[in-house]
Symmetry: C2
Subunit: 479 residues, 2 copies
């Protein structure tokens, strides 16, 4: 958004030449993030942060609508608290950052920066919960967490990331399971209806579930290159954490009981998903629902009398129903076109002296770059329609990619050949044994994405061991 | 908000018996915060968090309206970065938390959890700033910071607190100074028009300014007990940080220049200010603009036919223009009255069978507990009016306290006697020497709150040293 004349819209790496480099180019050149002097930590720049705020506003609304309340927990966890649930600590201890000094004194007990906050929530629940009448407690927090990853990439894997983490407790296991699945549907709505990302929904296998959970559910999105992105997860804990943290309540029958628990989260990773689902060789393409700027007005021949005034007047008018901005910098129109295409703005509106004479303007759709002349009087209708149809087209294109890259296979031979030929999802039967899951990784380089809710019998036996199959699993490569 | 029947609305300590205990009682019993297992860290519970979200929404709107953009910086600062500006590191190093291990390995360089982020912003500015055309950069972030305080109190002083920190860079020192004063006015608007807290505005003395700043400005609010609360500060840095961090840009004349910088913040401390400004013996009193619930509907004889339906119908109607909630729990009306008074809800609406018959309801104002019978048809007008007049009355009452507790003194004798007689502000002249400021602390137990913008010559000489006075200073005791 700078007016720096010297800056040029630099070419980005072609998407099909080097997808990883194309991705990094977009992250940096669309000014979503910057690297920081803190290794493995990125900065969300204004444009990236604005996208994240739009995502959070949508999801926060959904959560509040369904009775969830926000809270704010400490960012530090004492070592003893982290250790209370043994699977949890085993999963997270190797990747946390430890605070060992406060001011000038060594701490008696080291504390880690939260990698996730189950332990803190349980500790709080054990203080405030007394009676079944208080249940359910439906809590959520928006914050950042730290995980000491070895290799990092903007949005996808960074040592700090921003997210929401929901933590709820319920009177019965059924209610907790309902919540776990309900939130998965909220996440699916967010992705499908607002981020325009088609999904696979299902349950994670034992080896892929969250440290300490009884069951983990996930939404998996497919990226342009055929790799999967785990876009959100919800976890059902049973009463394991409640017991470990001694969270109890007096039940309807006056007996002391342990509540059943869930947790769930989505993160700034979703922005990585948006980039890799919709972007193209010109840069980012943003779904209208979360685009910080939905319509960029580019005045043509802006030095001519009346052009800038007309642009500002249009901005005021369109601002009633869209997020709109005028680029009145002294860059050339061509430069502005490239710049805002790079940044993924859904609609470009061009207006020049001739347009003003004719009472019209030019609209250019970012996805297909279709150009149309639209009477100014029709914009109130034309722009919302165009935003909607662009959104639908984004979903459609991504869904086509998902379908094109999904195969069903019966034998290991088929699986290996299919995986070698192209990256995507492979649907295959599975006996349920971890050994066969491991073998799939070794032989075909594929991990289980999930056991989809929508099951289909694509065979009878597990392609690895030949034993009777229990589930259809979707296998793939993942970010 | 729990439906736990066993819980009783417990009495809180009378406000004038033990103000500190009264304050703590409200924080806990109105369920604003909870203590955590992490020493010195508190939890924002749903009600406290909802108040904070309402405050952030108002201020975030003001900041965006004036062109400020949100970003998100890393939460960690490498030791070498913290040390680049020497006054800054001296001020903050003694009170930061140090991360020394990541995963299983010792870090080569320790990092602290941000106590404030000037260093990170400067580091980023030095990466992204090139030309004067980019200026000003008006950045802000909402986050939490950690300062390793020895003694803590909810909202007022905790090892972690939530705040916004603005960091801006400008082409000229005048523009930076304008920004510093502009933001102070935004903070004053927030406090005076939304939180209904009357203020003193002015500049901090040298000894009270921010570590690394050239000038610090503050808004100071007076609490019920006469002590001052520094409610927000804005800092003008000149080009000191720019030089320390080598932030440069090519100026209009093509020379390499250092930008001028500001930073500014308000925090969850404001919630402490709201409690101590407006609360009374019945509990919290919330200014309507930030009350999570503005109208609590209490059905009377709710088991009788039609009562709950009428309450829900009212809720739907009032929700068009107010934040409203029905308490349909099975607690008694008397219990509900106390509970919602404790929580500071501005208006209670009672509705029972007789009211329904007469087409009316009872409204009770939280501040003066005035009761009025209002025809249901008039509520659309009566409720907004009552919220407005309650807000005005809160301000008026606090302003009266501020005036009653402000004295002007000429001699040390007068100052000491006045300070002994009652806590409040003392306006007195000052020569500008730190030694006299120190003497005021030793002899009268008072610190300089600020050099108010509105100066008045309350004498000719410094009451400590007798030398000619430079400024009128407001002295007081502070939280």
């Amino acid at each position: 958004m700078s007016g720096d004349k010297k800056k040029m819209v630099e070419a980005i790496t072609p998407i099909d030449a080097d997808f990883a480099q194309w991705y990094t180019d977009i992250c940096l050149k669309a000014e979503l993030v910057d690297y920081s002097s803190v290794k493995g930590f990125t900065i969300l720049r204004p444009y990236g942060q604005a996208i994240w705020e739009n995502i959070t506003r949508i999801l926060d609304g959904m959560l509040k609508e369904s009775g969830h309340e926000n809270v704010a927990m400490p960012m530090l966890i004492p070592e003893s608290l982290l250790q209370k649930e043994k699977d949890h600590v085993e999963g997270f201890a190797p990747e946390v950052a430890w605070v060992t000094r406060g001011g000038s004194e060594e701490l008696e007990e080291p504390m880690c920066i939260r990698p996730t906050s189950e332990t803190l929530f349980c500790d709080h629940f054990s203080n405030v919960l007394h009676s079944w009448r208080q249940l359910p407690l439906l809590y959520n927090q928006w914050c950042s967490v730290v995980r000491w990853e070895k290799t990092t990439r903007p949005f996808l894997r960074t040592r700090e990331f921003w997210w929401q983490e929901g933590h709820t407790i319920h009177e019965t296991s059924e209610e907790a399971m309902d919540e776990t699945l309900y939130i998965l549907e909220c996440y699916a709505d967010l992705c499908e209806k607002f981020l325009m990302m088609p999904l696979l929904k299902g349950q994670k296998t034992e080896s892929e579930k969250f440290a300490g959970a009884e069951a983990t559910f996930a939404i998996e999105a497919m990226m342009h290159d055929g790799k999967a992105l785990q876009a959100g997860t919800t976890h059902y804990f049973g009463d394991g954490f409640s017991k470990a943290f001694d969270v109890t309540f007096t039940g309807r029958d006056n007996s002391l009981q342990h509540p059943f628990e869930t947790s769930w989260g989505v993160s700034t990773r979703l922005i990585g998903g948006i980039i890799m689902t919709h972007g193209d060789n010109e840069g980012l393409i943003l779904p209208p629902a979360i685009a910080p700027v939905q319509v960029i007005i580019v005045p043509v021949a802006q030095h001519k009398e009346g052009v800038l005034d007309a642009a500002y007047a249009l901005k005021t008018r369109l601002a009633e129903f869209a997020r709109v901005k005028v680029d009145d910098s002294d860059n050339s129109p061509g430069w502005k076109f490239s710049e805002w295409e790079m940044r993924g703005v859904p609609i470009r509106l061009e207006i020049g002296p001739k347009d003003i004479e004719k009472g019209q303007c030019v609209l250019v759709r970012r996805d297909n770059r279709e150009k149309s002349f639209v009477p100014l009087a029709d914009l109130d209708k034309a722009i919302p329609e165009m935003l909607d149809s662009l959104a639908a087209a984004l979903y459609e294109k991504a869904d086509q990619n998902l379908k094109n890259r999904t195969a069903s296979c019966k034998t290991m031979d088929e699986i290996i050949k299919t995986a070698e030929a192209s990256t995507g999802y492979i649907r295959a039967m599975w006996c349920g044994e971890e050994a066969c899951e491991d073998a799939m990784k070794e032989q075909a380089g594929l991990s289980s994405r999930c056991i989809p809710f929508e099951q289909e019998k694509v065979g009878d036996v597990c392609p690895v061991c030949g034993k009777p199959a229990k589930h259809m699993v979707v296998w793939g490569k993942a970010y």
